[in-house]
């Protein structure tokens, strides 16, 4: 109950943020641009629209999650609104979870908005709707939920600018960690390989949520992989939230 009250209020605040609409605007711009780009290229035009569209949802969704997520707690402390809130009989984890869910709700609505516009743009080109695109979008949303948790973790102990940089670094590492896997395969067994393996397990692998290529090229996706990716996202996000709560639990609000 307390969590949902805080979540609703967070949503109320988030939807007033201009950054959200600026990013939404850019996403729409990209959809339209992809259509234009499609006209200029020789290859498969529809593929380009799909590729650019999905990539835009992913990119601008990620920016929303990071830019808004890193201000989530910081703003409450900076504007001192947190004093009255935490003086009420609520647990700090309830506060954090409420903040997180409020932003996830915001990101969800934004993802839906972007997807609808994207599908409309695509429909105007192909006059068919491909439902399989929704799978790719759903997993983009799962990734965004994880990124929101990442932003929340960093925002519990640093300023929004630093937290945004850390989150961005996390995002990049997350999408490049597959190259670590390649590296492991190439290196002979030994100490170096063991270290890389440990790193690979700790570091996130955000490519797990990437079904864009499969969907665009209409390749089959094994259900088991979908299930595993979902479980991976759930566990990783839960771990991040737990971390944020642990950091936040004993923090002084001077």
């Amino acid at each position: 109950m307390k969590v949902s009250t805080i979540a609703r209020n967070t949503f109320k605040e988030a939807k007033r943020d201009r950054v959200l609409y600026l990013l939404l605007f850019f996403a729409i711009l990209c959809f339209l641009l992809s259509r234009f780009l499609g006209l200029l290229t020789v290859g498969d035009r529809v593929k380009i629209i799909k590729d650019v569209g999905l990539a835009s949802i992913s990119l601008f969704g990620m920016l929303m999650a990071i830019l808004m997520g890193t201000g989530l707690v910081y703003k409450e402390i900076d504007k001192k609104t947190i004093f009255t809130l935490l003086a009420k009989p609520i647990h700090r984890w309830e506060f954090l979870l409420g903040k997180y869910l409020g932003l996830v709700l915001t990101i969800f609505i934004m993802t839906v908005l972007m997807s609808v516009i994207f599908l409309v743009v695509l429909f105007l080109h192909t006059f068919t709707i491909e439902w399989s695109l929704l799978i790719a979008i759903l997993y983009i949303f799962f990734e965004l939920c994880l990124m929101t948790a990442v932003a929340l973790v960093f925002s519990t102990f640093s300023t929004p600018i630093l937290a945004s940089l850390y989150s961005l670094a996390f995002y990049l590492i997350g999408h490049l960690s597959w190259s670590l896997e390649l590296l492991i395969k190439k290196i002979k067994s030994g100490g170096g390989r063991a270290i890389l393996k440990v790193l690979y397990i700790i570091l996130p692998d955000l490519e797990n949520f990437n079904f864009k290529t499969e969907v665009v090229h209409q390749l089959p996706i094994p259900t088991k992989l979908l299930g595993l990716s979902f479980a991976y996202g759930l566990v990783y996000t839960a771990f991040l939230l737990l971390l944020a709560i642990l950091i936040f639990r004993r923090r002084d609000f001077i």
């Binding site: 307390k2 109320k12 609104t81 947190i82 003086a87 009420k88 009989p89 004993r250 609000f253 001077i254």
Partner: protein
Amino acid sequence: MGKVLELDRVYKAYKFGFIPKKKQVLKGISFYVNEGEIFGYLGPNGAGKTTTIKSILNLIFPDAGRITIFGEDSLKPRAREKVGFLPENPYFYDYLTGREFLAFYADLLGIHGQQKEEKIKYFLNLVGMEKAADLQLRKYSRGMLQRVGLAQALLNDPALVILDEPMGGLDPIGRKEFRDIIVNLKKEGKTVFLSSHILQDIEMICDRVAIILAGEIVNQGYLGDLISEKVLYTEVIVAGLPASEFSHLGESVSASGNRVLLKVYEEQHIDRIIRLVQEKNGKIISLIPRTETLEDIFVGLVKNQ
């Protein structure tokens, strides 16, 4: 009378700066607040009043010491169930209107439906903000924020109300209204803990006070015990006679026009002044005995530091 709030040797140091420097802010604070009293927490700027209050509310964690609220360790959120809090210079979500703001806290406190509407209406009325209820908080003045802030603190019908500088930012009428509200809270059986450096306010309404200086409690007790009823001196204003006439009877503090202000320390001198004035056809304008005030104690303590 039970103890509603008790602090036992609470220490807190702030670390700040790139290379952390330690600053001991609370140096073993101990005091208690009895049920049903108005307790004044008095101290100059930077003494550690807000830090103490934040420790009580678990917004910061003391390095050492124990705080109990209604016998419950303050570390548990349960301890704050019957506590209301108004921070100094209150900051709230400024995109909410006064009414939405109170509704948010009502939701948070689990007050619903009909009861919620009634409470919001009642408290808006109590703090005189019903006209501004549908205005966004960003359009409120400091005093107005203070008022809805107080409403927010009272929403859960708290048994202990903690107010950090509640009169700051209020105009004289507002201060009087707040004083009345606080005295009324006491009449309802609630306990009030308020910090202030406005001595007048504390003197008027508090039962007991604690004085904090540089992180230490230097004096605490019933107001009546701290302030002696003894007359310190009498201020006499005389017109029509030069100050030199009285130099052997009292200390002349100031003179303007044909008036002289005298500070008279000995009681028998007052009679002699009256006689002298009558003999020489002067006039006594006023004669006021000065007893010790909280301010005297306070200023004395601060000077001793």
